[in-house]
Amino acid sequence: MFEIFAYIARGAGWTIVMTFGSAAIGIVLGLPLLVLAESKFALIRGIYNSIVHVIRGVPTLVWLFISFFGVGQLGITLSPVTASLLTLSIIATAYMSEIYRGGMKAIPAGQWEAAGALNLDRWSTLRFVIGPQLFRAVSPSVATQIIGLLKDSALVSTIGVADLVFRAGIMTQYHAHGLYMFGIAGAVYLLLSLPIAVFSRTVHTRITRRYAVA
């Protein structure tokens, strides 16, 4: 019994790599996309909007299959791990940049104007005035998104990455008792999402305390 549990739980490794790898890439790459989202030119905003809508409108499974089977057919063979990390990262980037855009809307225009009145340059405005407030505004949504990514990472088992679900499936084929096997996998997902929720709450309260609402 313990061996089975250990076998399934070892799949948490890939689940964690997929979740946090794509989350980290999404959190970083989402920021430069803000430049496109907030561009002065309607054309650039239109391009950004259509890309984000297409990425978010197609189910993750379809993107995974396109990048694994479809791109493979075009002669670029990606390993399951590369294909899934790539796909999840692109999807995470689209979601994160939408979250950032929502956060920017929450910052009053007076903050930009005040920074301008204090003769702060663009970099200082972003770094000391807008950045902390943006961070405060988006941190709960980012945490929710990371938990969403954790659950989306279950899909990588369909293209053969040995994560929790994949291993639970193998154990079901060996020993039957699917309820136990997938129950273990589900429990590990719940356990993994707990620390993310707790960590995000502590971070959020700390930021709120440090940068009190003006």
Binding site: V58, P59, V62, L74, V165, G169, F182, G183, G186
Partner: protein
């Protein structure tokens, strides 16, 4: 082989995938219908005065929200036989999606119910309305304003999640695409066609939810001037009369 053929030959696969689209839409409708009704009752149970009832409802909600839908699908399809319950792929997929939809929707419905001021139901109570009437005529209409936009969003998410049902062999879009793909090896074209089919539903859906959010979401703060204008319908006319006098 022409590497770029998929850019123009994907539309030929759309007719073969259409039966899958109907299956996906049917699954979405059934599981959202059951899921939202279940979610509503779960929301009421979570708010119940009894600690035992409220905590057990909360556990059900958190299981629905916290476990990936893929795991739920396997639990219902490959797990329940352990208890002697053999479900066909289609009911198993609907059950898993319903469970997930119930968990997510109950939080959204709870947020809507919580946003209705307590005085509303107290006032209904003092008019000696029954509990059912209070909910039917006072609380739900006000809560719906807040809950409906996220629920429309959730419906789109559930529609996208029907793609996962392919792993338990439900003949929806991805299953059809997989069958065609393995027969023709034109994976890129077939999956592009599948992606386009999903977009045909999700993009109008996203537009609808954006519209509803603007229309029904929390009412925007009006300026004092607008509020006064709305209160005194004659105010506009009076002022124009005054102005006319002044200009005369």
């Amino acid at each position: 082989m022409n590497d770029f053929a998929w850019l123009y030959d994907w539309p030929q696969y759309i007719p073969d995938l259409l039966p899958g689209l109907w299956v996906a839409i049917a699954m979405t409708c059934v599981s959202c219908l059951f899921g939202y009704v279940l979610g509503f009752f779960l929301a009421l149970l979570v708010e119940a005065p009894s600690k035992l009832v409220s905590y057990s409802a909360l556990v059900v909600v958190e299981l629905g929200r916290g476990i990936p839908i893929l795991v739920l699908l396997f639990l219902f399809y490959q797990g329940l036989p352990q208890l002697g319950v053999l479900l066909a792929p289609y009911p198993a997929a609907v059950a898993a999606l319903t469970f997930s939809a119930a968990g997510y929707s109950s939080e959204m419905i709870r947020a809507g119910l919580g946003a209705v001021p307590k005085g509303q139901s107290e006032a209904a109570n003092s008019l000696s309305m029954s509990v059912v009437d209070t909910y039917r005529f006072i609380v739900i209409p006000q809560a719906a304003r807040i809950s409906i936009p996220p629920l429309v969003n959730l419906t789109i998410i559930i529609f996208q999640a029907t793609s996962l049902a392919t792993v338990i062999t439900v003949p929806e879009i991805m299953q059809q695409a997989g069958i065609i793909g393995s027969a023709t090896f034109e994976y890129m074209s077939v999956y592009t066609a599948a992606a386009v089919l999903y977009l045909c539903i999700t993009i109008p859906g996203a537009a609808l939810s954006g519209y509803l959010e603007e229309r029904m979401g929390t009412p925007k703060q009006r300026s004092k001037k607008q509020a006064i204008k709305a209160l005194l319908p004659a105010a506009g006319k009076l002022r124009t009369a005054e102005e006319r006098q002044l200009t005369n």
